[in-house]
Structures are given as C-alpha cells and as structure tokens.
Symmetry: C2
Subunit: 126 residues, 2 copies
DNA sequence: AACCATACTTACATAAAAGTAAGTGACTTC
DNA sequence: GAAGTCACTTACTTTTATGTAAGTATGGTT
C-alpha cells in the first residue's frame, strides 16, 4: 500500500470506499440497495416466490406503477432480482430473487419481525 | 367486531392500521422508526454503548449537526434511545439505547453483515 | 475582556424521492 | 372496429429529506 493511501485512510478513519462513494458503516451500503420507501417491501415479496408486476401491485396497494417499475429496475441493477419477459400477449413479466438477493432474507425477516413487535406495542398502549 | 369494520378489513386485505396510518407489511412499520439515511446508523452506534453528541459526530463524519439532532430526537420520540443532560459546563449529553431499542440489534446486525458482504463483492469485481 | 467548549436552534436553500395522470404497443375478445 | 389486457413510459408536480451557515447559552480559562 502506498504511503499516501495509508495516510488518507488514517486521516479519515475506517471508511469503505467504492469509486466516488464513501461509507462509514456497512449499513450505509445496505441502504444503497434496499433503502427508501419501497425497495425492502418489494424485495420481501419477491423473496417469498416469483411475482408478476400485477401481483406486486396487488400485494402493495399503495404503490403506483411508476414507482414499482423504477424500484424493480434498481433492484435488478443491484442484482437482487431478475426480470424475465415472456413473449405472450398480453405480456407477462416475472420477477425472481437472485442468489445474492436471497442473502437479504435475514435482513428482511428481522425488519419484518421487529415491525410486527413494535406495532403490537403501539396497539397495546393508547 | 362490528360488521363494517370487518368488511373494511376484507376489502383492504391484511393491513396494519394505527391511527391514520396504514401499512401492508410490518417492514413499513420498521421503516417509520429507522428509515432514512441516518437513523439506522445512529442507532447502530448507540447500541454499541452510550454516546455523546460530539462522539456521534466523530463516528459519523458526514452528518451535520442539524441532522444529528433531528434524528436523535426522532429516535427518542420512538423510544429507541434516551437522552440525558448532565448539568455541567460545557454541557454533556448522553444518548443510550432503551430496552425497546436494544431489540433492534438483530435488524441492525443483519444490515451490517449484509452490507459488508455486498461491499466485498463489489470490491472484488471491477 | 476575549476566547474556548458543548450541544444545540433557526432560517433558509437545495436536492432527492415520490406521486399524478395520461399515453403506448401488441394482440384478443366482443 | 371498439374495447380490454398487461407492463410499462413520459412529462410534470408535489412533498419530503437533507444540507448550509450563522447564531445562542452557559460558564470556565487566559
């Protein structure tokens, strides 16, 4: 390792660097992939089994088509899911979890579990 | 349960309701508490042990004071952390995880682990 | 008296995320 | 041939999140 690199590392503390992006926790890396309002929810549904576009729309009633498409594309770009178009009319498109995406299961499961617990606490109080 | 309530539930599928908020997955509940760019990172650091404001600033170099205060307040409001002011000059304020907040550990750990793995994959490729 | 430290607060500005509504293409059924 | 299905796209608007920079209070140190 060059001295300048080393100095840079010491000056900035333990930080993860990737191209022009700098993270101070691996959590930030995860957020790049499943951060935001929809991505974790979408991934959670697809991890339960392959889903069509329309099925996801049904499963996530409040999402609109633009958001659904956009977030699916980003998940695809990050290799969390794959997109398969079937040459049929009307078209059929299937989204499946990748192996890499499947490794998100513990994260999504933990989030799901915690959310359920927190919701019950809220429901019990006021 | 009143019939109208029941009908409402059937019409809208399995959804969690809390006041004026409606969720279709417990994941959304979790996101209300630790969603966004900073909250999970902050909680992660405080879960490792009590931290002062200035220490958090040091641990999360890219955050600014306004954001740090704001997010700390929201974590406090959701009973994830507590805030203790010591009557000293200069002031000392300590943030600690609550019991409820400590239950986030599996979530944050999973996020951290996954982020590390994903980052290594990225680093190995290009 | 001037300066330092800590942990903020405030007003304001910018950027990013999310939402709305209308339209597209290819083929099927009525 | 009009209408319907599915999975989008596009242009545009609104909302939410995040950031900047300056200022505040208390009291200790020089």
């Amino acid at each position: 390792m060059a001295i300048s690199e080393q100095q840079a590392k010491m000056a900035e503390g333990k930080r993860l660097v990737q191209g022009d992006k700098v993270y101070s926790t691996p959590i930030e890396v995860t957020l790049e992939v499943i951060g935001g309002k929809w991505k974790s929810v979408i991934a959670y549904h697809i991890i339960q089994g392959p889903q069509r576009f329309s099925e996801l729309k049904r499963l996530i009633p409040d999402i609109n088509e633009k958001m659904l498409t956009q977030q699916l594309r980003e998940l695809e770009r990050n290799e969390v899911i794959t997109r398969t178009v079937f040459a049929e009319v009307p078209p059929r498109v299937e989204y499946r979890i990748t192996e890499h995406g499947a490794s998100l299961q513990p994260v999504l499961e933990a989030m799901c579990l915690w959310g359920r617990g927190h919701w019950q606490q809220l429901a019990a109080k006021p």
